[in-house]
Symmetry: D2
Subunit: 314 residues, 4 copies
Amino acid sequence: LDNLTTNAALLTPFAPDDTIHHEAIRAMVEYSVGLGNKAFYVCGTTGEGFQMTVAERRAVVETVCEANAGRCKIFVNISHMDFRESCVLADHARDVGADMLSALPPIFNAITTEDLLKYLEGLMDHVSLPFAYYHIPLLSGKALGFDAFKRLSKHPRFKGIKYTSEDTHLLGRLKQLQGGRLPVWSGRDAYFLSNLSMGADGGVGSSFQLIGDLFGAVDEAYRAGDVERARGLQMGINEVHGGFGRYGALQSYKASFELMGIPAGQCRKPFGALPPEADAHLRQNLERLEDIRNQYNIKLPQGSSVAVGLRGAV
Amino acid sequence: LDNLTTNAALLTPFAPDDTIHHEAIRAMVEYSVGLGNKAFYVCGTTGEGFQMTVAERRAVVETVCEANAGRCKIFVNISHMDFRESCVLADHARDVGADMLSALPPIFNAITTEDLLKYLEGLMDHVSLPFAYYHIPLLSGKALGFDAFKRLSKHPRFKGIKYTSEDTHLLGRLKQLQGGRLPVWSGRDAYFLSNLSMGADGGVGSSFQLIGDLFGAVDEAYRAGDVERARGLQMGINEVHGGFGRYGALQSYKASFELMGIPAGQCRKPFGALPPEADAHLRQNLERLEDIRNQYNIKLPQGSSVAVGLRGAV
Amino acid sequence: LDNLTTNAALLTPFAPDDTIHHEAIRAMVEYSVGLGNKAFYVCGTTGEGFQMTVAERRAVVETVCEANAGRCKIFVNISHMDFRESCVLADHARDVGADMLSALPPIFNAITTEDLLKYLEGLMDHVSLPFAYYHIPLLSGKALGFDAFKRLSKHPRFKGIKYTSEDTHLLGRLKQLQGGRLPVWSGRDAYFLSNLSMGADGGVGSSFQLIGDLFGAVDEAYRAGDVERARGLQMGINEVHGGFGRYGALQSYKASFELMGIPAGQCRKPFGALPPEADAHLRQNLERLEDIRNQYNIKLPQGSSVAVGLRGAV
Amino acid sequence: LDNLTTNAALLTPFAPDDTIHHEAIRAMVEYSVGLGNKAFYVCGTTGEGFQMTVAERRAVVETVCEANAGRCKIFVNISHMDFRESCVLADHARDVGADMLSALPPIFNAITTEDLLKYLEGLMDHVSLPFAYYHIPLLSGKALGFDAFKRLSKHPRFKGIKYTSEDTHLLGRLKQLQGGRLPVWSGRDAYFLSNLSMGADGGVGSSFQLIGDLFGAVDEAYRAGDVERARGLQMGINEVHGGFGRYGALQSYKASFELMGIPAGQCRKPFGALPPEADAHLRQNLERLEDIRNQYNIKLPQGSSVAVGLRGAV
């Protein structure tokens, strides 16, 4: 699990009849691979995993694994409010060839830190794949501190953190765990570079499936010491990222894929439909994206037919 | 749905093999009826509904309806992260004779207020029973304001609010909706009296299943103008309520039922086991409860065999 | 210091040249006495004490004491970011006949609870008058818990709490300190009744200088057991109170006094001027106030010439 | 005001009789200059400016200007709860040769964003020196957003932001104001490098007066593209910075100066005294600081007698 610098949190596309759109998944996987991403994070917040049945989640994981065909690593989010279902999802992920499991802390219920840690340890006891904790205090309401992470880091399955936070001070400390070898991936896309600066190994985020190439360029420039280029690229990312977020992020990612010819469909409730004015805005946003790629001389790989679709669409 | 002053949010008892303990449900229902409660709130936060399968939730609702035999009203919490399952739960609740449905706002996902309102309106469009919104901003992270409630109050199914908040100013305003006839029940047990003072119609809470008689006495004293007695009783409630909360509320309610002879069992994850010292503490707490009942001359009803069990146990 | 049920946090009126308007202070004192208030809280948040020099604050206290002529009790807020100035203000207040001192916790600086408590204890060691702590966590950022209050309550000068919070559960516990004899006054005017219901001895607030009679009527009805009248009055208060708050509370109180013939002037920076549309709104609000008084048969005392002015003005 | 990369927020040393210790100020200025700092931020939060009289603040500014003798730039914090005093402090700072003024937003009072902006604009209208806004939402409770900063940036006196926040996304956007030429200095020392990565021009912080050389080395390494060295140094800083913060930051900076032979004295209330165990801890912390300097081959300048004192002391 080394060198996983840019990793795409995958959307789950739904067909007009609200079933999983497996063809669209395959197209998205292809598009993400084409952008140079190194791993997929499946059925997470971005993937609307909480709004799907266990059977649906299993089906999505299977399709991603099959379409990926070993090219990228596969992270499967096994979060479920019912612990038993998390175990079912974990076993299934292992059986179909996933590389890593991941879970949020238990959401909603007010619990003690001790119960939270025991929950995670219980989950790691059950699983046989490496486990990456999904730290997202703003949404989960659970903000583990350094000592809690230190305790978790002693579990033999604890192998990474999806760090959806902008607290770079804590990130720096977490990078010292497990002898400095614990991977920590930035989960807040607009803070990717500042997280890199304090030691993040890369990032896992929803915009990587659309602009993973830009994050890769940030990472490359940064590690090569070209900090001005890295910052310029991150500023470009933030502009486009803000554009996706203006009318609702998940809905806008899906609508952008639609503009590029991939039938990503609508989000499930509670995410509502985009307003009519979003369409023109998202077209502009994709054009701006192309400008940034041109400005920084970033080329989408040849043979990426969807990428061609994108350039045709806008 | 008038005069529902004291309403018990029911625990879900689990057997040692982690299945639903239907006998224990029946005993709890009996105990709650004996305390004078007027309704049951089933499979809510207290009932660990989020940690159960849909099949389990349906089974619990059926047992409660059957054991209740029409004596109390039945509220069914249909909250589920998957909207489709909420609809399944709603239809089932109607079919088995429930009186009212209830749901939280969508939890966890970051959504706009507009999407939140459309979600609730979509849910109310689907259901055919009256609907009570479960306002619990501290846990759900969604704090609707007056204008949002005003919009919801115009939906023909919107028939109540479980108001788990101590903001009595907003409560007073909400009580003016629907011509002053919208029921608003206090959902924070330690704030029952202050919520009453600004117009709450009563309360729905987890401690009602153990001490609903005390809340009934607060309500009675308050409406009769004996504000000193009302306050004294609420102070007594708060003392005992704090005692239940000391080592984890849900676990302590269950352990207290065990002390009274009802096999409530353990909570599911993420709620951990009580520490060994909790047992003696909870015995003391139940003794203190008896003292308060004696002090205020509150008698448990005759023939409430579990109540006898309680007095025998401590 | 018993029976201080309704207590006015006094505005400080400024003349057009931004100096203290002593005549206006006298008129305000007279108006407040006429409403039946029992005490004045001078140079607090409402009184813009932090935006005045120590010399100005002393001058205001002197004028209030002189105009009051022993009819009401005088609380002096001695909060100052410089501890030494608080001591100067405390000594002066004692010398000119104030009855009680009050202070916020140290604001702005990030300090430990231990340092906060030592600060307050050091202040109480210095003063010779009774001291009331000004609990206002929303603005001060310092939310003392029960144990901290318990420690403070052991200091011989600790004689009350201005409780600007809606947490009625904590309020109930605080009322048990000092053998149940520690006065706790509600400082959030819209939560006056719910604070009363859990034991508040009355209230100290900015709107009392304009509508102290209504709060007195709430208190009277509540203690007489007429809880419906109490609630109706509090709802009326909340309506008018919300009206004052719409365009900025302090500025609106002053503008309302201007409408009633008392030259309260403008607020100092950082409080800006009211927008032009505020004038008509505030006239309507005062008319609504008169309606509520009529509805509940509350008569302003005879000989209160300003009250006549009010009725003439609107 | 270019190239102000490392800038020391100065402590104000107090003599045993609680008066300003002007000799110690001179020694601190000398020490800071020796560390390579480029500017001083005087009478800020670190300098306990809010706990001093206007006369004391003027005296401190005069001594700093005189001791500095033109070597560094001088920023004067003119924040005062009384706007008129801020103007007095501004005029004085200009008269004695300061280079820049700075102020927090109005603290404590609940005001609208509009009033806040008008306040700052009014202050900038008054002053004739360049003005740097002190953004510190965690303590001030006022978190201006991008649009508010954009409006402020149009004022001819608005010439910088002391950005005491870890929100690097907003920082990046702020750096685009005024054609990309608006200086933004990191004010959170543990986030210096991540703020640099998104465009900060350097930093202004309390630990710069003790370890400004390390921040300078971070800045130098970062701009030279040696991102690993930059991160290693920042990790070292964070370790020592955390050591200063363990028992209270301001008190520990002063105690550390005392260990190095500069009589920094005690903090004023509300800051309490350090516990006895702090002394050994702070000695260790200074030793650790020396280790880090050695590890990264950072040499304190020759002739810096205090630095010699430091090495002698530990």
